[in-house]
């Protein structure tokens, strides 16, 4: 701080020098300052017409009225955040109870890890990016990323640009041609810490989330358009009454005519959720033929053990926000929250204690930012302590 105050004083001397306003004492003082370090070069660099003109030009571009408005907005939203923290302080009580229960365990584990744990501020965990592997019918694997490549699979060509793999409708766009052409099976694999977009040969758009695999034929043949999904994807299906679009995940099938919906079918989870945004879909279990027909804003929950399908009304936004670059959570447990975000940031995590895992979180977080920002928010809102260990493993504790 003192150093900064000194700079204020020297700036007056430098300005005074330009305006011939210095006393002999001040001149002497400035000269002695110039003899220290690189101060002479610094003075020459600052008292330079080009550099000053450049500064004046930049100053003109700053709209302080607009900046003031944006400051007020930030203040309002930051005080809204404070309100939330106050509301959450009741949660702290829950946490405190949990703390007494797990204290023995915590002390033990802290001794083990504390040497290599770092606070969030010291860590950078980049968000996922666009990359994927395309497995062609001959078993060849093509790496896909932001760069461009052209792929030919049978009669269908595909173009890869900017994180989107787009199949062009084949020569066999007519049914009789399609029968003649042998369909090739392709699989698009998106690893943890990645996402990808796909446009199928019928124009259907698919957004694939992290740790997801989609298998489909190129081109679609027969009387239906069938794809197999592991993981999570959002579908915007090109309408075609004659060729139903079917998404299979294990023994669940979602049959649609033309619509937008999200399917989350990660193998480690015991439920497959299908969330409908637009149109109409039928969710069916292949063996029991249990089925549910969904209307917009409805969600089917398929229990992979009991094979039962339940339907409920939901706000679809939290389930499809990932595709819009957001993580939106409404009253989810800390465990569910980390299960989601760890896939995107490709990190492992450990939450200490069942009570902590069950804490509920509600929030809307950016998906394309560094993970540390998100962790800071979780830390503040949930009143938990988050530290980062080896390989960016995230430890959540009291």
């Amino acid at each position: 701080m003192d150093e900064i105050n000194k700079q204020f004083e020297y700036s007056e001397l430098l300005a005074g020098r330009v305006l011939d306003a210095l006393t002999d004492e001040q001149k002497k003082f400035l000269m002695e300052w110039e003899q220290q370090g690189n101060n002479k070069e610094l003075r020459e660099d600052i008292l330079n017409a080009y550099s000053f003109r450049d500064w004046q030009h930049k100053l003109k571009t700053i709209d302080t009225v607009e900046e003031w408005a944006s400051f007020l907005e930030r203040m309002d939203s930051s005080s809204a955040k404070t309100d939330k923290v106050i509301k959450l302080s009741r949660m702290k009580w829950v946490s405190a109870v949990a703390a007494t229960l797990v204290v023995g365990l915590t002390v033990f584990t802290l001794f083990n890890k504390s040497s290599n744990l770092k606070p969030i501020e010291d860590i950078k965990i980049a968000p996922g990016s666009s990359h994927a592997e395309l497995v062609l019918s001959n078993g060849e694997v093509v790496d896909l990323d932001e760069s461009e490549n052209e792929i030919v699979e049978g009669v269908v060509g595909a173009k890869n640009t900017k994180g989107i793999l787009q199949y062009k409708d084949a020569l066999g766009s007519r049914a009789e041609d399609r029968v003649l052409n042998e369909a090739k099976v392709n699989t698009l694999r998106v690893p943890r810490g990645a996402e990808y977009q796909l446009v199928l040969s019928d124009g259907t758009k698919v957004w694939l989330n992290s740790d997801t695999e989609l298998t489909y034929t190129v081109p679609f043949v027969g009387s239906e358009r069938r794809v197999a999904l592991k993981g999570e994807a959002y579908f915007d299906v090109t309408p075609n009454k004659e060729l139903p679009f079917i998404v299979t995940s294990g023994t669940q099938e979602v049959q649609v005519l033309g619509t937008e919906f999200n399917v989350s079918a990660y193998s480690e989870e015991t439920h497959i959720t299908t969330t409908l945004v637009e149109g109409k879909v039928m969710v069916e279990e292949t063996y029991s033929h249990n089925q549910q027909i969904l209307s917009p804003n409805q969600q089917a929950n398929f229990d992979t053990k009991t094979k039962s399908i339940n339907k409920k009304n939901v706000d679809v936004y939290p389930y499809v926000a990932w595709k819009e670059g957001r993580f939106v959570f409404h009253n989810v447990t800390l465990e569910e929250l980390f299960s989601k975000i760890s896939k995107w940031y490709n990190v492992e995590y450990e939450i200490e204690g069942e009570k902590l895992k069950a804490l509920k979180f509600t929030g809307d977080l950016p998906r394309y930012n560094d993970m540390s920002g998100i962790l800071k928010i979780i830390e503040a809102e949930m009143s938990v302590n988050i530290q980062i260990g080896l390989n960016n493993k995230v430890y959540v504790s009291e």
Binding site: V18, Q26, D45, I46, L47, Q56, M75
Partner: protein, 185 residues
Amino acid sequence: MRVSGKTIQYNSKEFNEIFERLFPSMYMLASRILKSQEKGKDIAQEAFVKLWQKDSEEFSSEKALQAYLYVLVKNACISQIRKEKNIFNTSIDEGLTVVEKSFLNEILREETYKLLHEAINELSPQAEQVVRLTLNGYRNQDIASELEITINSVKTVKKRAYNRLRQVLGSQFVMIVLGDFYEYF
């Protein structure tokens, strides 16, 4: 928050005036350090928000508040650089002391330009030309022949600019050497 013994609110006219005076320096400084207008703007904005994190903050003068803002901007810039370069170990951390040093230099630049700008702002275009030529290394005699005026006119222009500066900045303008000079020796 109290500034110069007066309690003000973040959305008051008083703070609006302080904001208009101080925001540009914070913005330009952070932009230069981070080499990005966008990041610079964000950091300057955040610094003003952080300034209000504690309502009880008290500043003896606007200068003191400004010094504090510079510290907030500096810390935010360093943590941003650390993030971007993924710096964890101390050997690269030493590079950050270089950043710290250049930060002080940039504060000096910012404050000097602000004073010069205040001095010639709203004066005749001639005052701006005189300052520019001086910055180009011209002596008063050279400026006089370049602008085809007398050397006394050059001196008068400079004097007027300096008086204007004292007038605009009033009590904020301290001109150390008069008061603090002997403390340094």
